[in-house]
């Protein structure tokens, strides 16, 4: 549970400049590949899990959220524990490698100590090592959000990721951002994938028939394993429905119940849900749908160093952006999990050797674009990050760019959870902007909107995050705002959470009947017009040369 005061303290801490020499005081234990991958094997099955890589082929700097509020029954439960409280909960030493990988605490200082995390070549090394040890007991499963949100994934329409993942030889995946490639392209990629793309919760809109395989049976370590796929239930709402007009999603709990029963009847001794539901939805679902042994979670980007147990179901949250690989060893006997051991393995790029085959593939994909992607367009004086329930500093730069370049009074930027971090003093290169904006519907629109409509939008998004019933949540963060401030009481019902909306330029309250010029990007509406958002942001940074956003304090949070 985070009180309002703690929230403010967290905000103050992130804005504060760390004292000189502070980072040298912090633990500097040397990380080695052997130590990171060390694992006392248990049982007869090993599940390897990755999720939400967001097309990040290279190691990243990615600051985990300092604010991740839970409401209703999950208030104060993981993943709604951040910063120091997270370290205390899991008994992680401040300043340690784990503290750096898993929290926002001392991020800037620790990033300089421990460096980048991730890279599909480091993931490949890890997967190969586990397979070498565990042989035919292993299954590699990917919860999706793999094929989009980098420059190369955008221009190759996901082909770069499909080709690289093919080298990893996954056994199954599910999806969400994959669908923003459009139905035709998704079908084309899925048909040639060479492994299963599973989604029990997608049906065609015409005949209400399953649009994808729901489940696949495997035999590993002598155990019959059913893997059931669950795509993001709200893909057709959170992303453009016009790109996938004949597919209908949803949680489809009854279908899932039926699929689990079907799997058990077919002899499955272990039932795994490969999920893109988001953690709170999976937590609720685990309590309501009997017979699921393991849920491999995705979507909400949570990195939890221990499995969460709901009844007999183990929930695994493997983080995002390629920062982690999960290894879950299971002892399955008589159709039950008798024992398990779990490790969330951080991919410290300086410690884990890149797999040569994958590294060469990544280099060949990037070669034609490397020079352009590396062009310096400016510099940041402050830490840029996106993750968190409300505005991040990277979003503040995007909103400033929209306000300036699209000549608007108010800017809206979607609360995506993908997008990397940049350290104070770091050069900004083109790739940094693509990593925060690369999607297939990038038009930066400009329109007029009444104050009433603006409030309605902010209320609507707030309800998608803070509805007390997880089944009504979509899993993103709040829409980021520029040029306007507000107070939010997350405990109130829809229509009553937002108050005190103020136009920052004038300091005057937003008037319901008045028209305002509003710019934004990533509209889900077909035919949205405007220049691509990355052009808008790059142009702005090139003009400014230096950006230095600080938490502007324009959003007040109550009820936390």
């Amino acid at each position: 549970m985070i009180s309002r005061r703690e929230l403010l303290q967290v905000a103050a801490a992130t804005a504060a400049v760390l004292p000189v020499g502070f980072r040298h005081v912090l633990a500097q234990q040397r990380l080695t590949q052997a130590e990171l991958l060390r694992f006392d094997a248990v049982g007869n099955v090993t599940l390897i899990h990755v999720a939400d890589i967001h097309a990040q082929l290279k190691p990243v700097l990615f600051r985990e959220p300092s604010i991740n509020l839970g409401v209703g029954e999950v208030r104060g439960l993981v993943p709604h524990v951040t910063g120091r409280a997270f370290l205390d909960l899991y008994k992680i030493a401040p300043g340690s490698a784990a503290a750096y990988a898993l929290t926002s605490e001392d991020f800037t200082a620790l990033a300089k100590t421990y460096g980048r995390i991730g890279g599909l070549d480091r993931i490949a090394t890890t997967v190969k090592a586990i397979r070498a040890e565990r042989g035919e007991r292993t299954l590699l499963l990917d919860s999706g959000d793999t094929w989009q949100n980098s420059y190369t994934s955008l221009v190759t329409k996901g082909q770069d990721m499909v080709d690289c993942m093919a080298l990893l030889k996954p056994d199954a995946m599910t999806g969400h951002w994959e669908f923003t490639l459009g139905a035709k392209r998704v079908k084309e990629l899925v048909d040639n994938l060479g492994f299963a793309f599973l989604a029990q919760n997608i049906r065609d809109t015409e005949w209400d028939e399953p649009a994808f395989e729901a489940m696949k049976m495997f035999e590993r370590g002598g155990v019959k394993i059913a893997v059931i796929g669950q795509a993001l239930p709200y893909t057709a709402i959170a992303n453009p429905r016009w790109m996938i007009p004949t597919w209908s999603f949803g949680i489809r709990e009854n279908d899932l119940r039926a699929n689990v029963e079907k799997a058990r009847k077919a002899g499955a001794e272990l039932v795994v849900l490969l999920s893109h539901n988001g953690f709170d939805v999976d937590r609720k679902l685990a309590a309501r749908v009997p017979g699921i042994d393991v849920i491999l979670a995705g979507h909400t980007h949570d990195a939890l160093p221990q499995a969460v147990k709901v009844g007999k179901t183990l929930l695994i949250a493997s983080g995002s952006h390629g920062k982690f690989v999960s290894r879950l060893d299971l002892d399955v006997r008589g159709g039950e999990v008798k024992d398990f051991r779990y490790k969330l393995i951080p991919m410290f790029a300086d410690a884990i050797a890149p797999d040569p085959e994958m590294a060469a593939k990544i280099a060949s994909i990037r070669a034609p674009h490397e020079k352009m992607l590396g062009e310096v367009i400016g510099r940041t004086e402050t830490l840029l990050y996106r993750r968190g329930n409300f505005n991040g500093t990277l979003d503040d730069v995007i909103c400033d760019a929209l306000l300036a370049e699209r000549d608007s009074e108010i800017a809206l930027s979607p609360g995506f959870r993908w997008g990397n971090s940049l350290l104070p003093g770091q050069d900004i290169v083109r790739e940094d902007i693509y990593n925060a904006t690369a999607l297939t519907y990038p038009a930066a629109y400009r329109m007029t909107m009444t104050g009433a409509r603006l409030k309605e939008i902010v209320e609507d998004v707030a309800d998608n995050i803070f509805h007390p019933d997880p089944y009504y949540q979509q899993g993103g963060d709040m829409v980021r705002v520029g040029g306007v401030g507000y107070t939010i009481d997350i405990g109130k019902p829809i229509g009553q959470r937002i108050s005190g909306m103020t136009l920052l330029r004038t300091g005057r309250p937003i008037e319901a009947g008045k028209e305002y010029t509003v710019s934004g990007w990533a509209s889900v509406n077909e035919g949205t017009e405007g220049p691509p958002i990355w052009d808008v942001v790059m142009r702005h940074i090139e003009k400014k040369r230096v950006v230095a956003p600080k938490d502007a304090g324009h959003i007040r949070v109550l009820g936390a």
Binding site: A236, A238, N239, S248, E456, V461, Y472, Q474, G475, V479
Partner: protein, 152 residues
């Protein structure tokens, strides 16, 4: 048995049964005071339905408010002695609250029907079942109709 009707069939079935199918009016109609409570009162003859036995299977968040899938089921042996006779479905946020009334008899086998309905905004859908002994059961489901676009 699950009956899946398309919209035209649903209209035909409704008309054939009792002509009681009413779909939500255009969203451009100014929101008059919704009379769902009165409609339920009239259906039950003033009795308060007991919560339970009725299930509404609908998406928590509609992908398209103009055509939201809805399945209503009532637990009942559906025998001559004990069966569901009618199920009323109302929407508490539509300009016109009655959505549909389904009629059943022991020959129906199961008390289950499936159609698509139109919802103008986020609201509750309420289903009330009338049993042959004159008792009433009900359930409620919130369905959100959102602006969308910020998941990720």
């Amino acid at each position: 048995m699950t009956t899946i009707f398309n919209r035209r069939q649903a209209l035909a079935v409704g008309a054939g049964a009792a002509g009681a199918v009413v779909f939500g009016a255009s969203s451009r109609v100014a929101l008059a005071k919704n009379d769902h409570a009165e409609v339920i009162q009239k259906f039950t003859g003033g009795k308060t339905p007991v919560e339970g036995r009725v299930k509404l299977d609908m998406p928590e968040i509609a992908e398209n408010g103009n055509t939201v899938p809805m399945t209503v089921m009532v637990e009942s042996p559906m025998t001559a002695q004990s069966h569901v006779t009618d199920v009323l479905v109302v929407a508490d946020g539509n300009p016109r609250s009655p959505v549909v009334t389904f009629h059943f008899s022991p020959a129906s086998g199961v008390a289950e029907a499936n159609t698509r309905i139109r919802l103008v905004a986020t609201q509750n859908i309420i289903a009330v079942a009338k049993m042959n002994d004159g008792s009433f059961y009900s359930t409620k489901k919130e369905v959100k109709v959102t602006i969308g676009g910020c998941g990720g």
